[in-house]
């Protein structure tokens, strides 16, 4: 990673941090549990990195890396699917007064 990429990445990180703070501090305590499961689901985006590794990259691909990548795919997918399913389930429970 050269310094230009690093600086761009740091910009992204800083902006994401500010934005994250703004967005998340507006979530009421009522929805804190769905917030945790939703953010878990979203961070399962690391699935994207594991997919590339599990698929074997470059002209020489190592089996060890592919297996580790495979396990990572399983873990991340569990988080993504499970996280969204549970968040959905929880959100459906919150009803106004009839």
């Amino acid at each position: 990673m050269n310094s230009t990429t690093l600086i761009a990445a740091l910009y992204v990180f800083a902006l994401a941090a500010f934005l994250g703070y703004q967005v998340i501090s507006r979530v009421p305590p009522l929805l804190h549990t769905p917030l945790m499961s939703a953010t878990n689901a979203i961070s399962g985006i690391s699935l994207v990195g594991s997919i590339v590794i599990a698929g074997g990259t470059g002209p020489h691909h190592s089996t060890v890396a592919m297996i580790l990548g495979f396990i990572a795919v399983v873990c991340s997918t569990t988080n993504v699917v499970g996280g969204f399913v549970i968040t959905d389930r929880m959100l459906r429970m919150f009803k106004r007064k009839k």
Binding site: M1, V12, F13, A17, L19, G20, V23, I24, S25, R26, V27, P28, P29, T33, P34, L35, M36, A38, T39, I42, S43, G44, I45, S46, L47, V48, G49, S50, I51, V52, I53, G55, G56, T57, G58, H60, H61, V64, A65, L68, F70, A72, V73, C75, S76, T78, V80, V81, G82, G83, F84, V85, I86, R89, M90, L91, M93, F94, R96, K98
Partner: protein, 466 residues
Amino acid sequence: MNWQTYFIEFSYLLASILFILGLKGLSHPETAKRGMHLAEFGMMMAIIGTLMHFEIVSYTWIIVGLLIGSTLGAAMGVWVPMTAMPQRTALSHAFGAFAAALVGIAEYYSYTHGFKPLAELGHLKMSAMGFEIMLGSLTTTGSLIAFGKLQGIVPGKPLVYRGQNIFNMTLLAATVGLSIYLIFVPTAVVPFYVMLALAFVFGVLLVMPIGSADMPVVMSLLNSYAGLASAATGFVLSNNVLIIAGTLDGFSGFILSILMCRAMNRSITNVLFGAFGSAATAAIAEGQQGVMREVSVEDIAVQLAYANKVIFVPGYGLATAQAQHAVRELASVLENRGVTVKYGIHPVAGRMPGHMNVLLAEANVPYSQLYELEQINPEFPTTDVAVVIGANDVVNPDARDNPNSPIAGMPILEVDRAKSVVVLKRGQGKGFSGLENPLFFKPVTGMLYGDAKDTLTKLVSAVQHA
């Protein structure tokens, strides 16, 4: 850039935007569902985009992995009961952190075993990788221990020993030291595996001394770490959507941790390294402060039936007794008699942020009846009956009145200001923190012993006949 790369980068950008919009939707229950659908769509686009990556050689492992993961995730999502939500959340932290750690380890392996050009592994990349792997590993084991504590497999009491903090600090220093060494000598494979092992161990030791009552903070922290590990993965792979999503998760957890700590009026270092149990034994004035007045179901039923306003204060005991449906039934019966019913939810009631809210929502309690601490405290003086169900520290007046108490300064639900208080409790024990609660000895309070679900069900029929 060829069209494939354009598509992939565009899908990542779209995913980033949709994730942010999705979280924004969580600011209100009405917009939350739609927000989540946006986030789900974004995730799908990012995954589809990645699958078209030109570097992928074989799809077998990927497809199998996706299928297994989806099945596991869907099964957990559908079958885990709301009362086990904290455990499930702890597990998902473990999975997420583990995935991040594995990606780092796989990358490291590829670089140091000749599958990727070592020249590409510069100092910056190695630092990010080291950080990702350390954080990912310790969060994995830490979350597994948290899961164990929540599930009761691991003792909920703080497990402390002399010199513990020094030992933990040394362990951390050693782990970080090794990772710094690796930045300059990336090919030192043995130190790498040692660092990895130390990080795993540190995770265990970090969470072991934390008591069950402090779980909300720990859960939020682990949530944060898992997110930061993903963000670090983003730095390593130069993947912006990973950085964004990881940062959002990391900050979310961080904000929640701060909120939890404020709600307990303890600093974060105190929670992590203070081992609450030991602090408590030092400061307690021993001895009974009077007599606890036991009441009967019939007495309380009459009080409730003729009250104008009743406030329910749930605690972790509600979850363990699975009494959320019973309390809802009681509330309905009371409302049919014209009683105003509200619920006071303390931020750290339960084992994770928002725990009580989802439990009551599952029992079909409308969320408009759920009130936060600042909103409900002024109402207690005009409340006829405050019903405390399985809550202890969050209604302990010592936090307000006794400056020497270990929980001094912690915001509490001021049930002792109500006209009458009923405490539903399994027995005469002291609860998770081991603190005496003067509320139980006050004249305004009546103790109703027994299993909460049982007691509440009896109250329902008693009120109907009152």
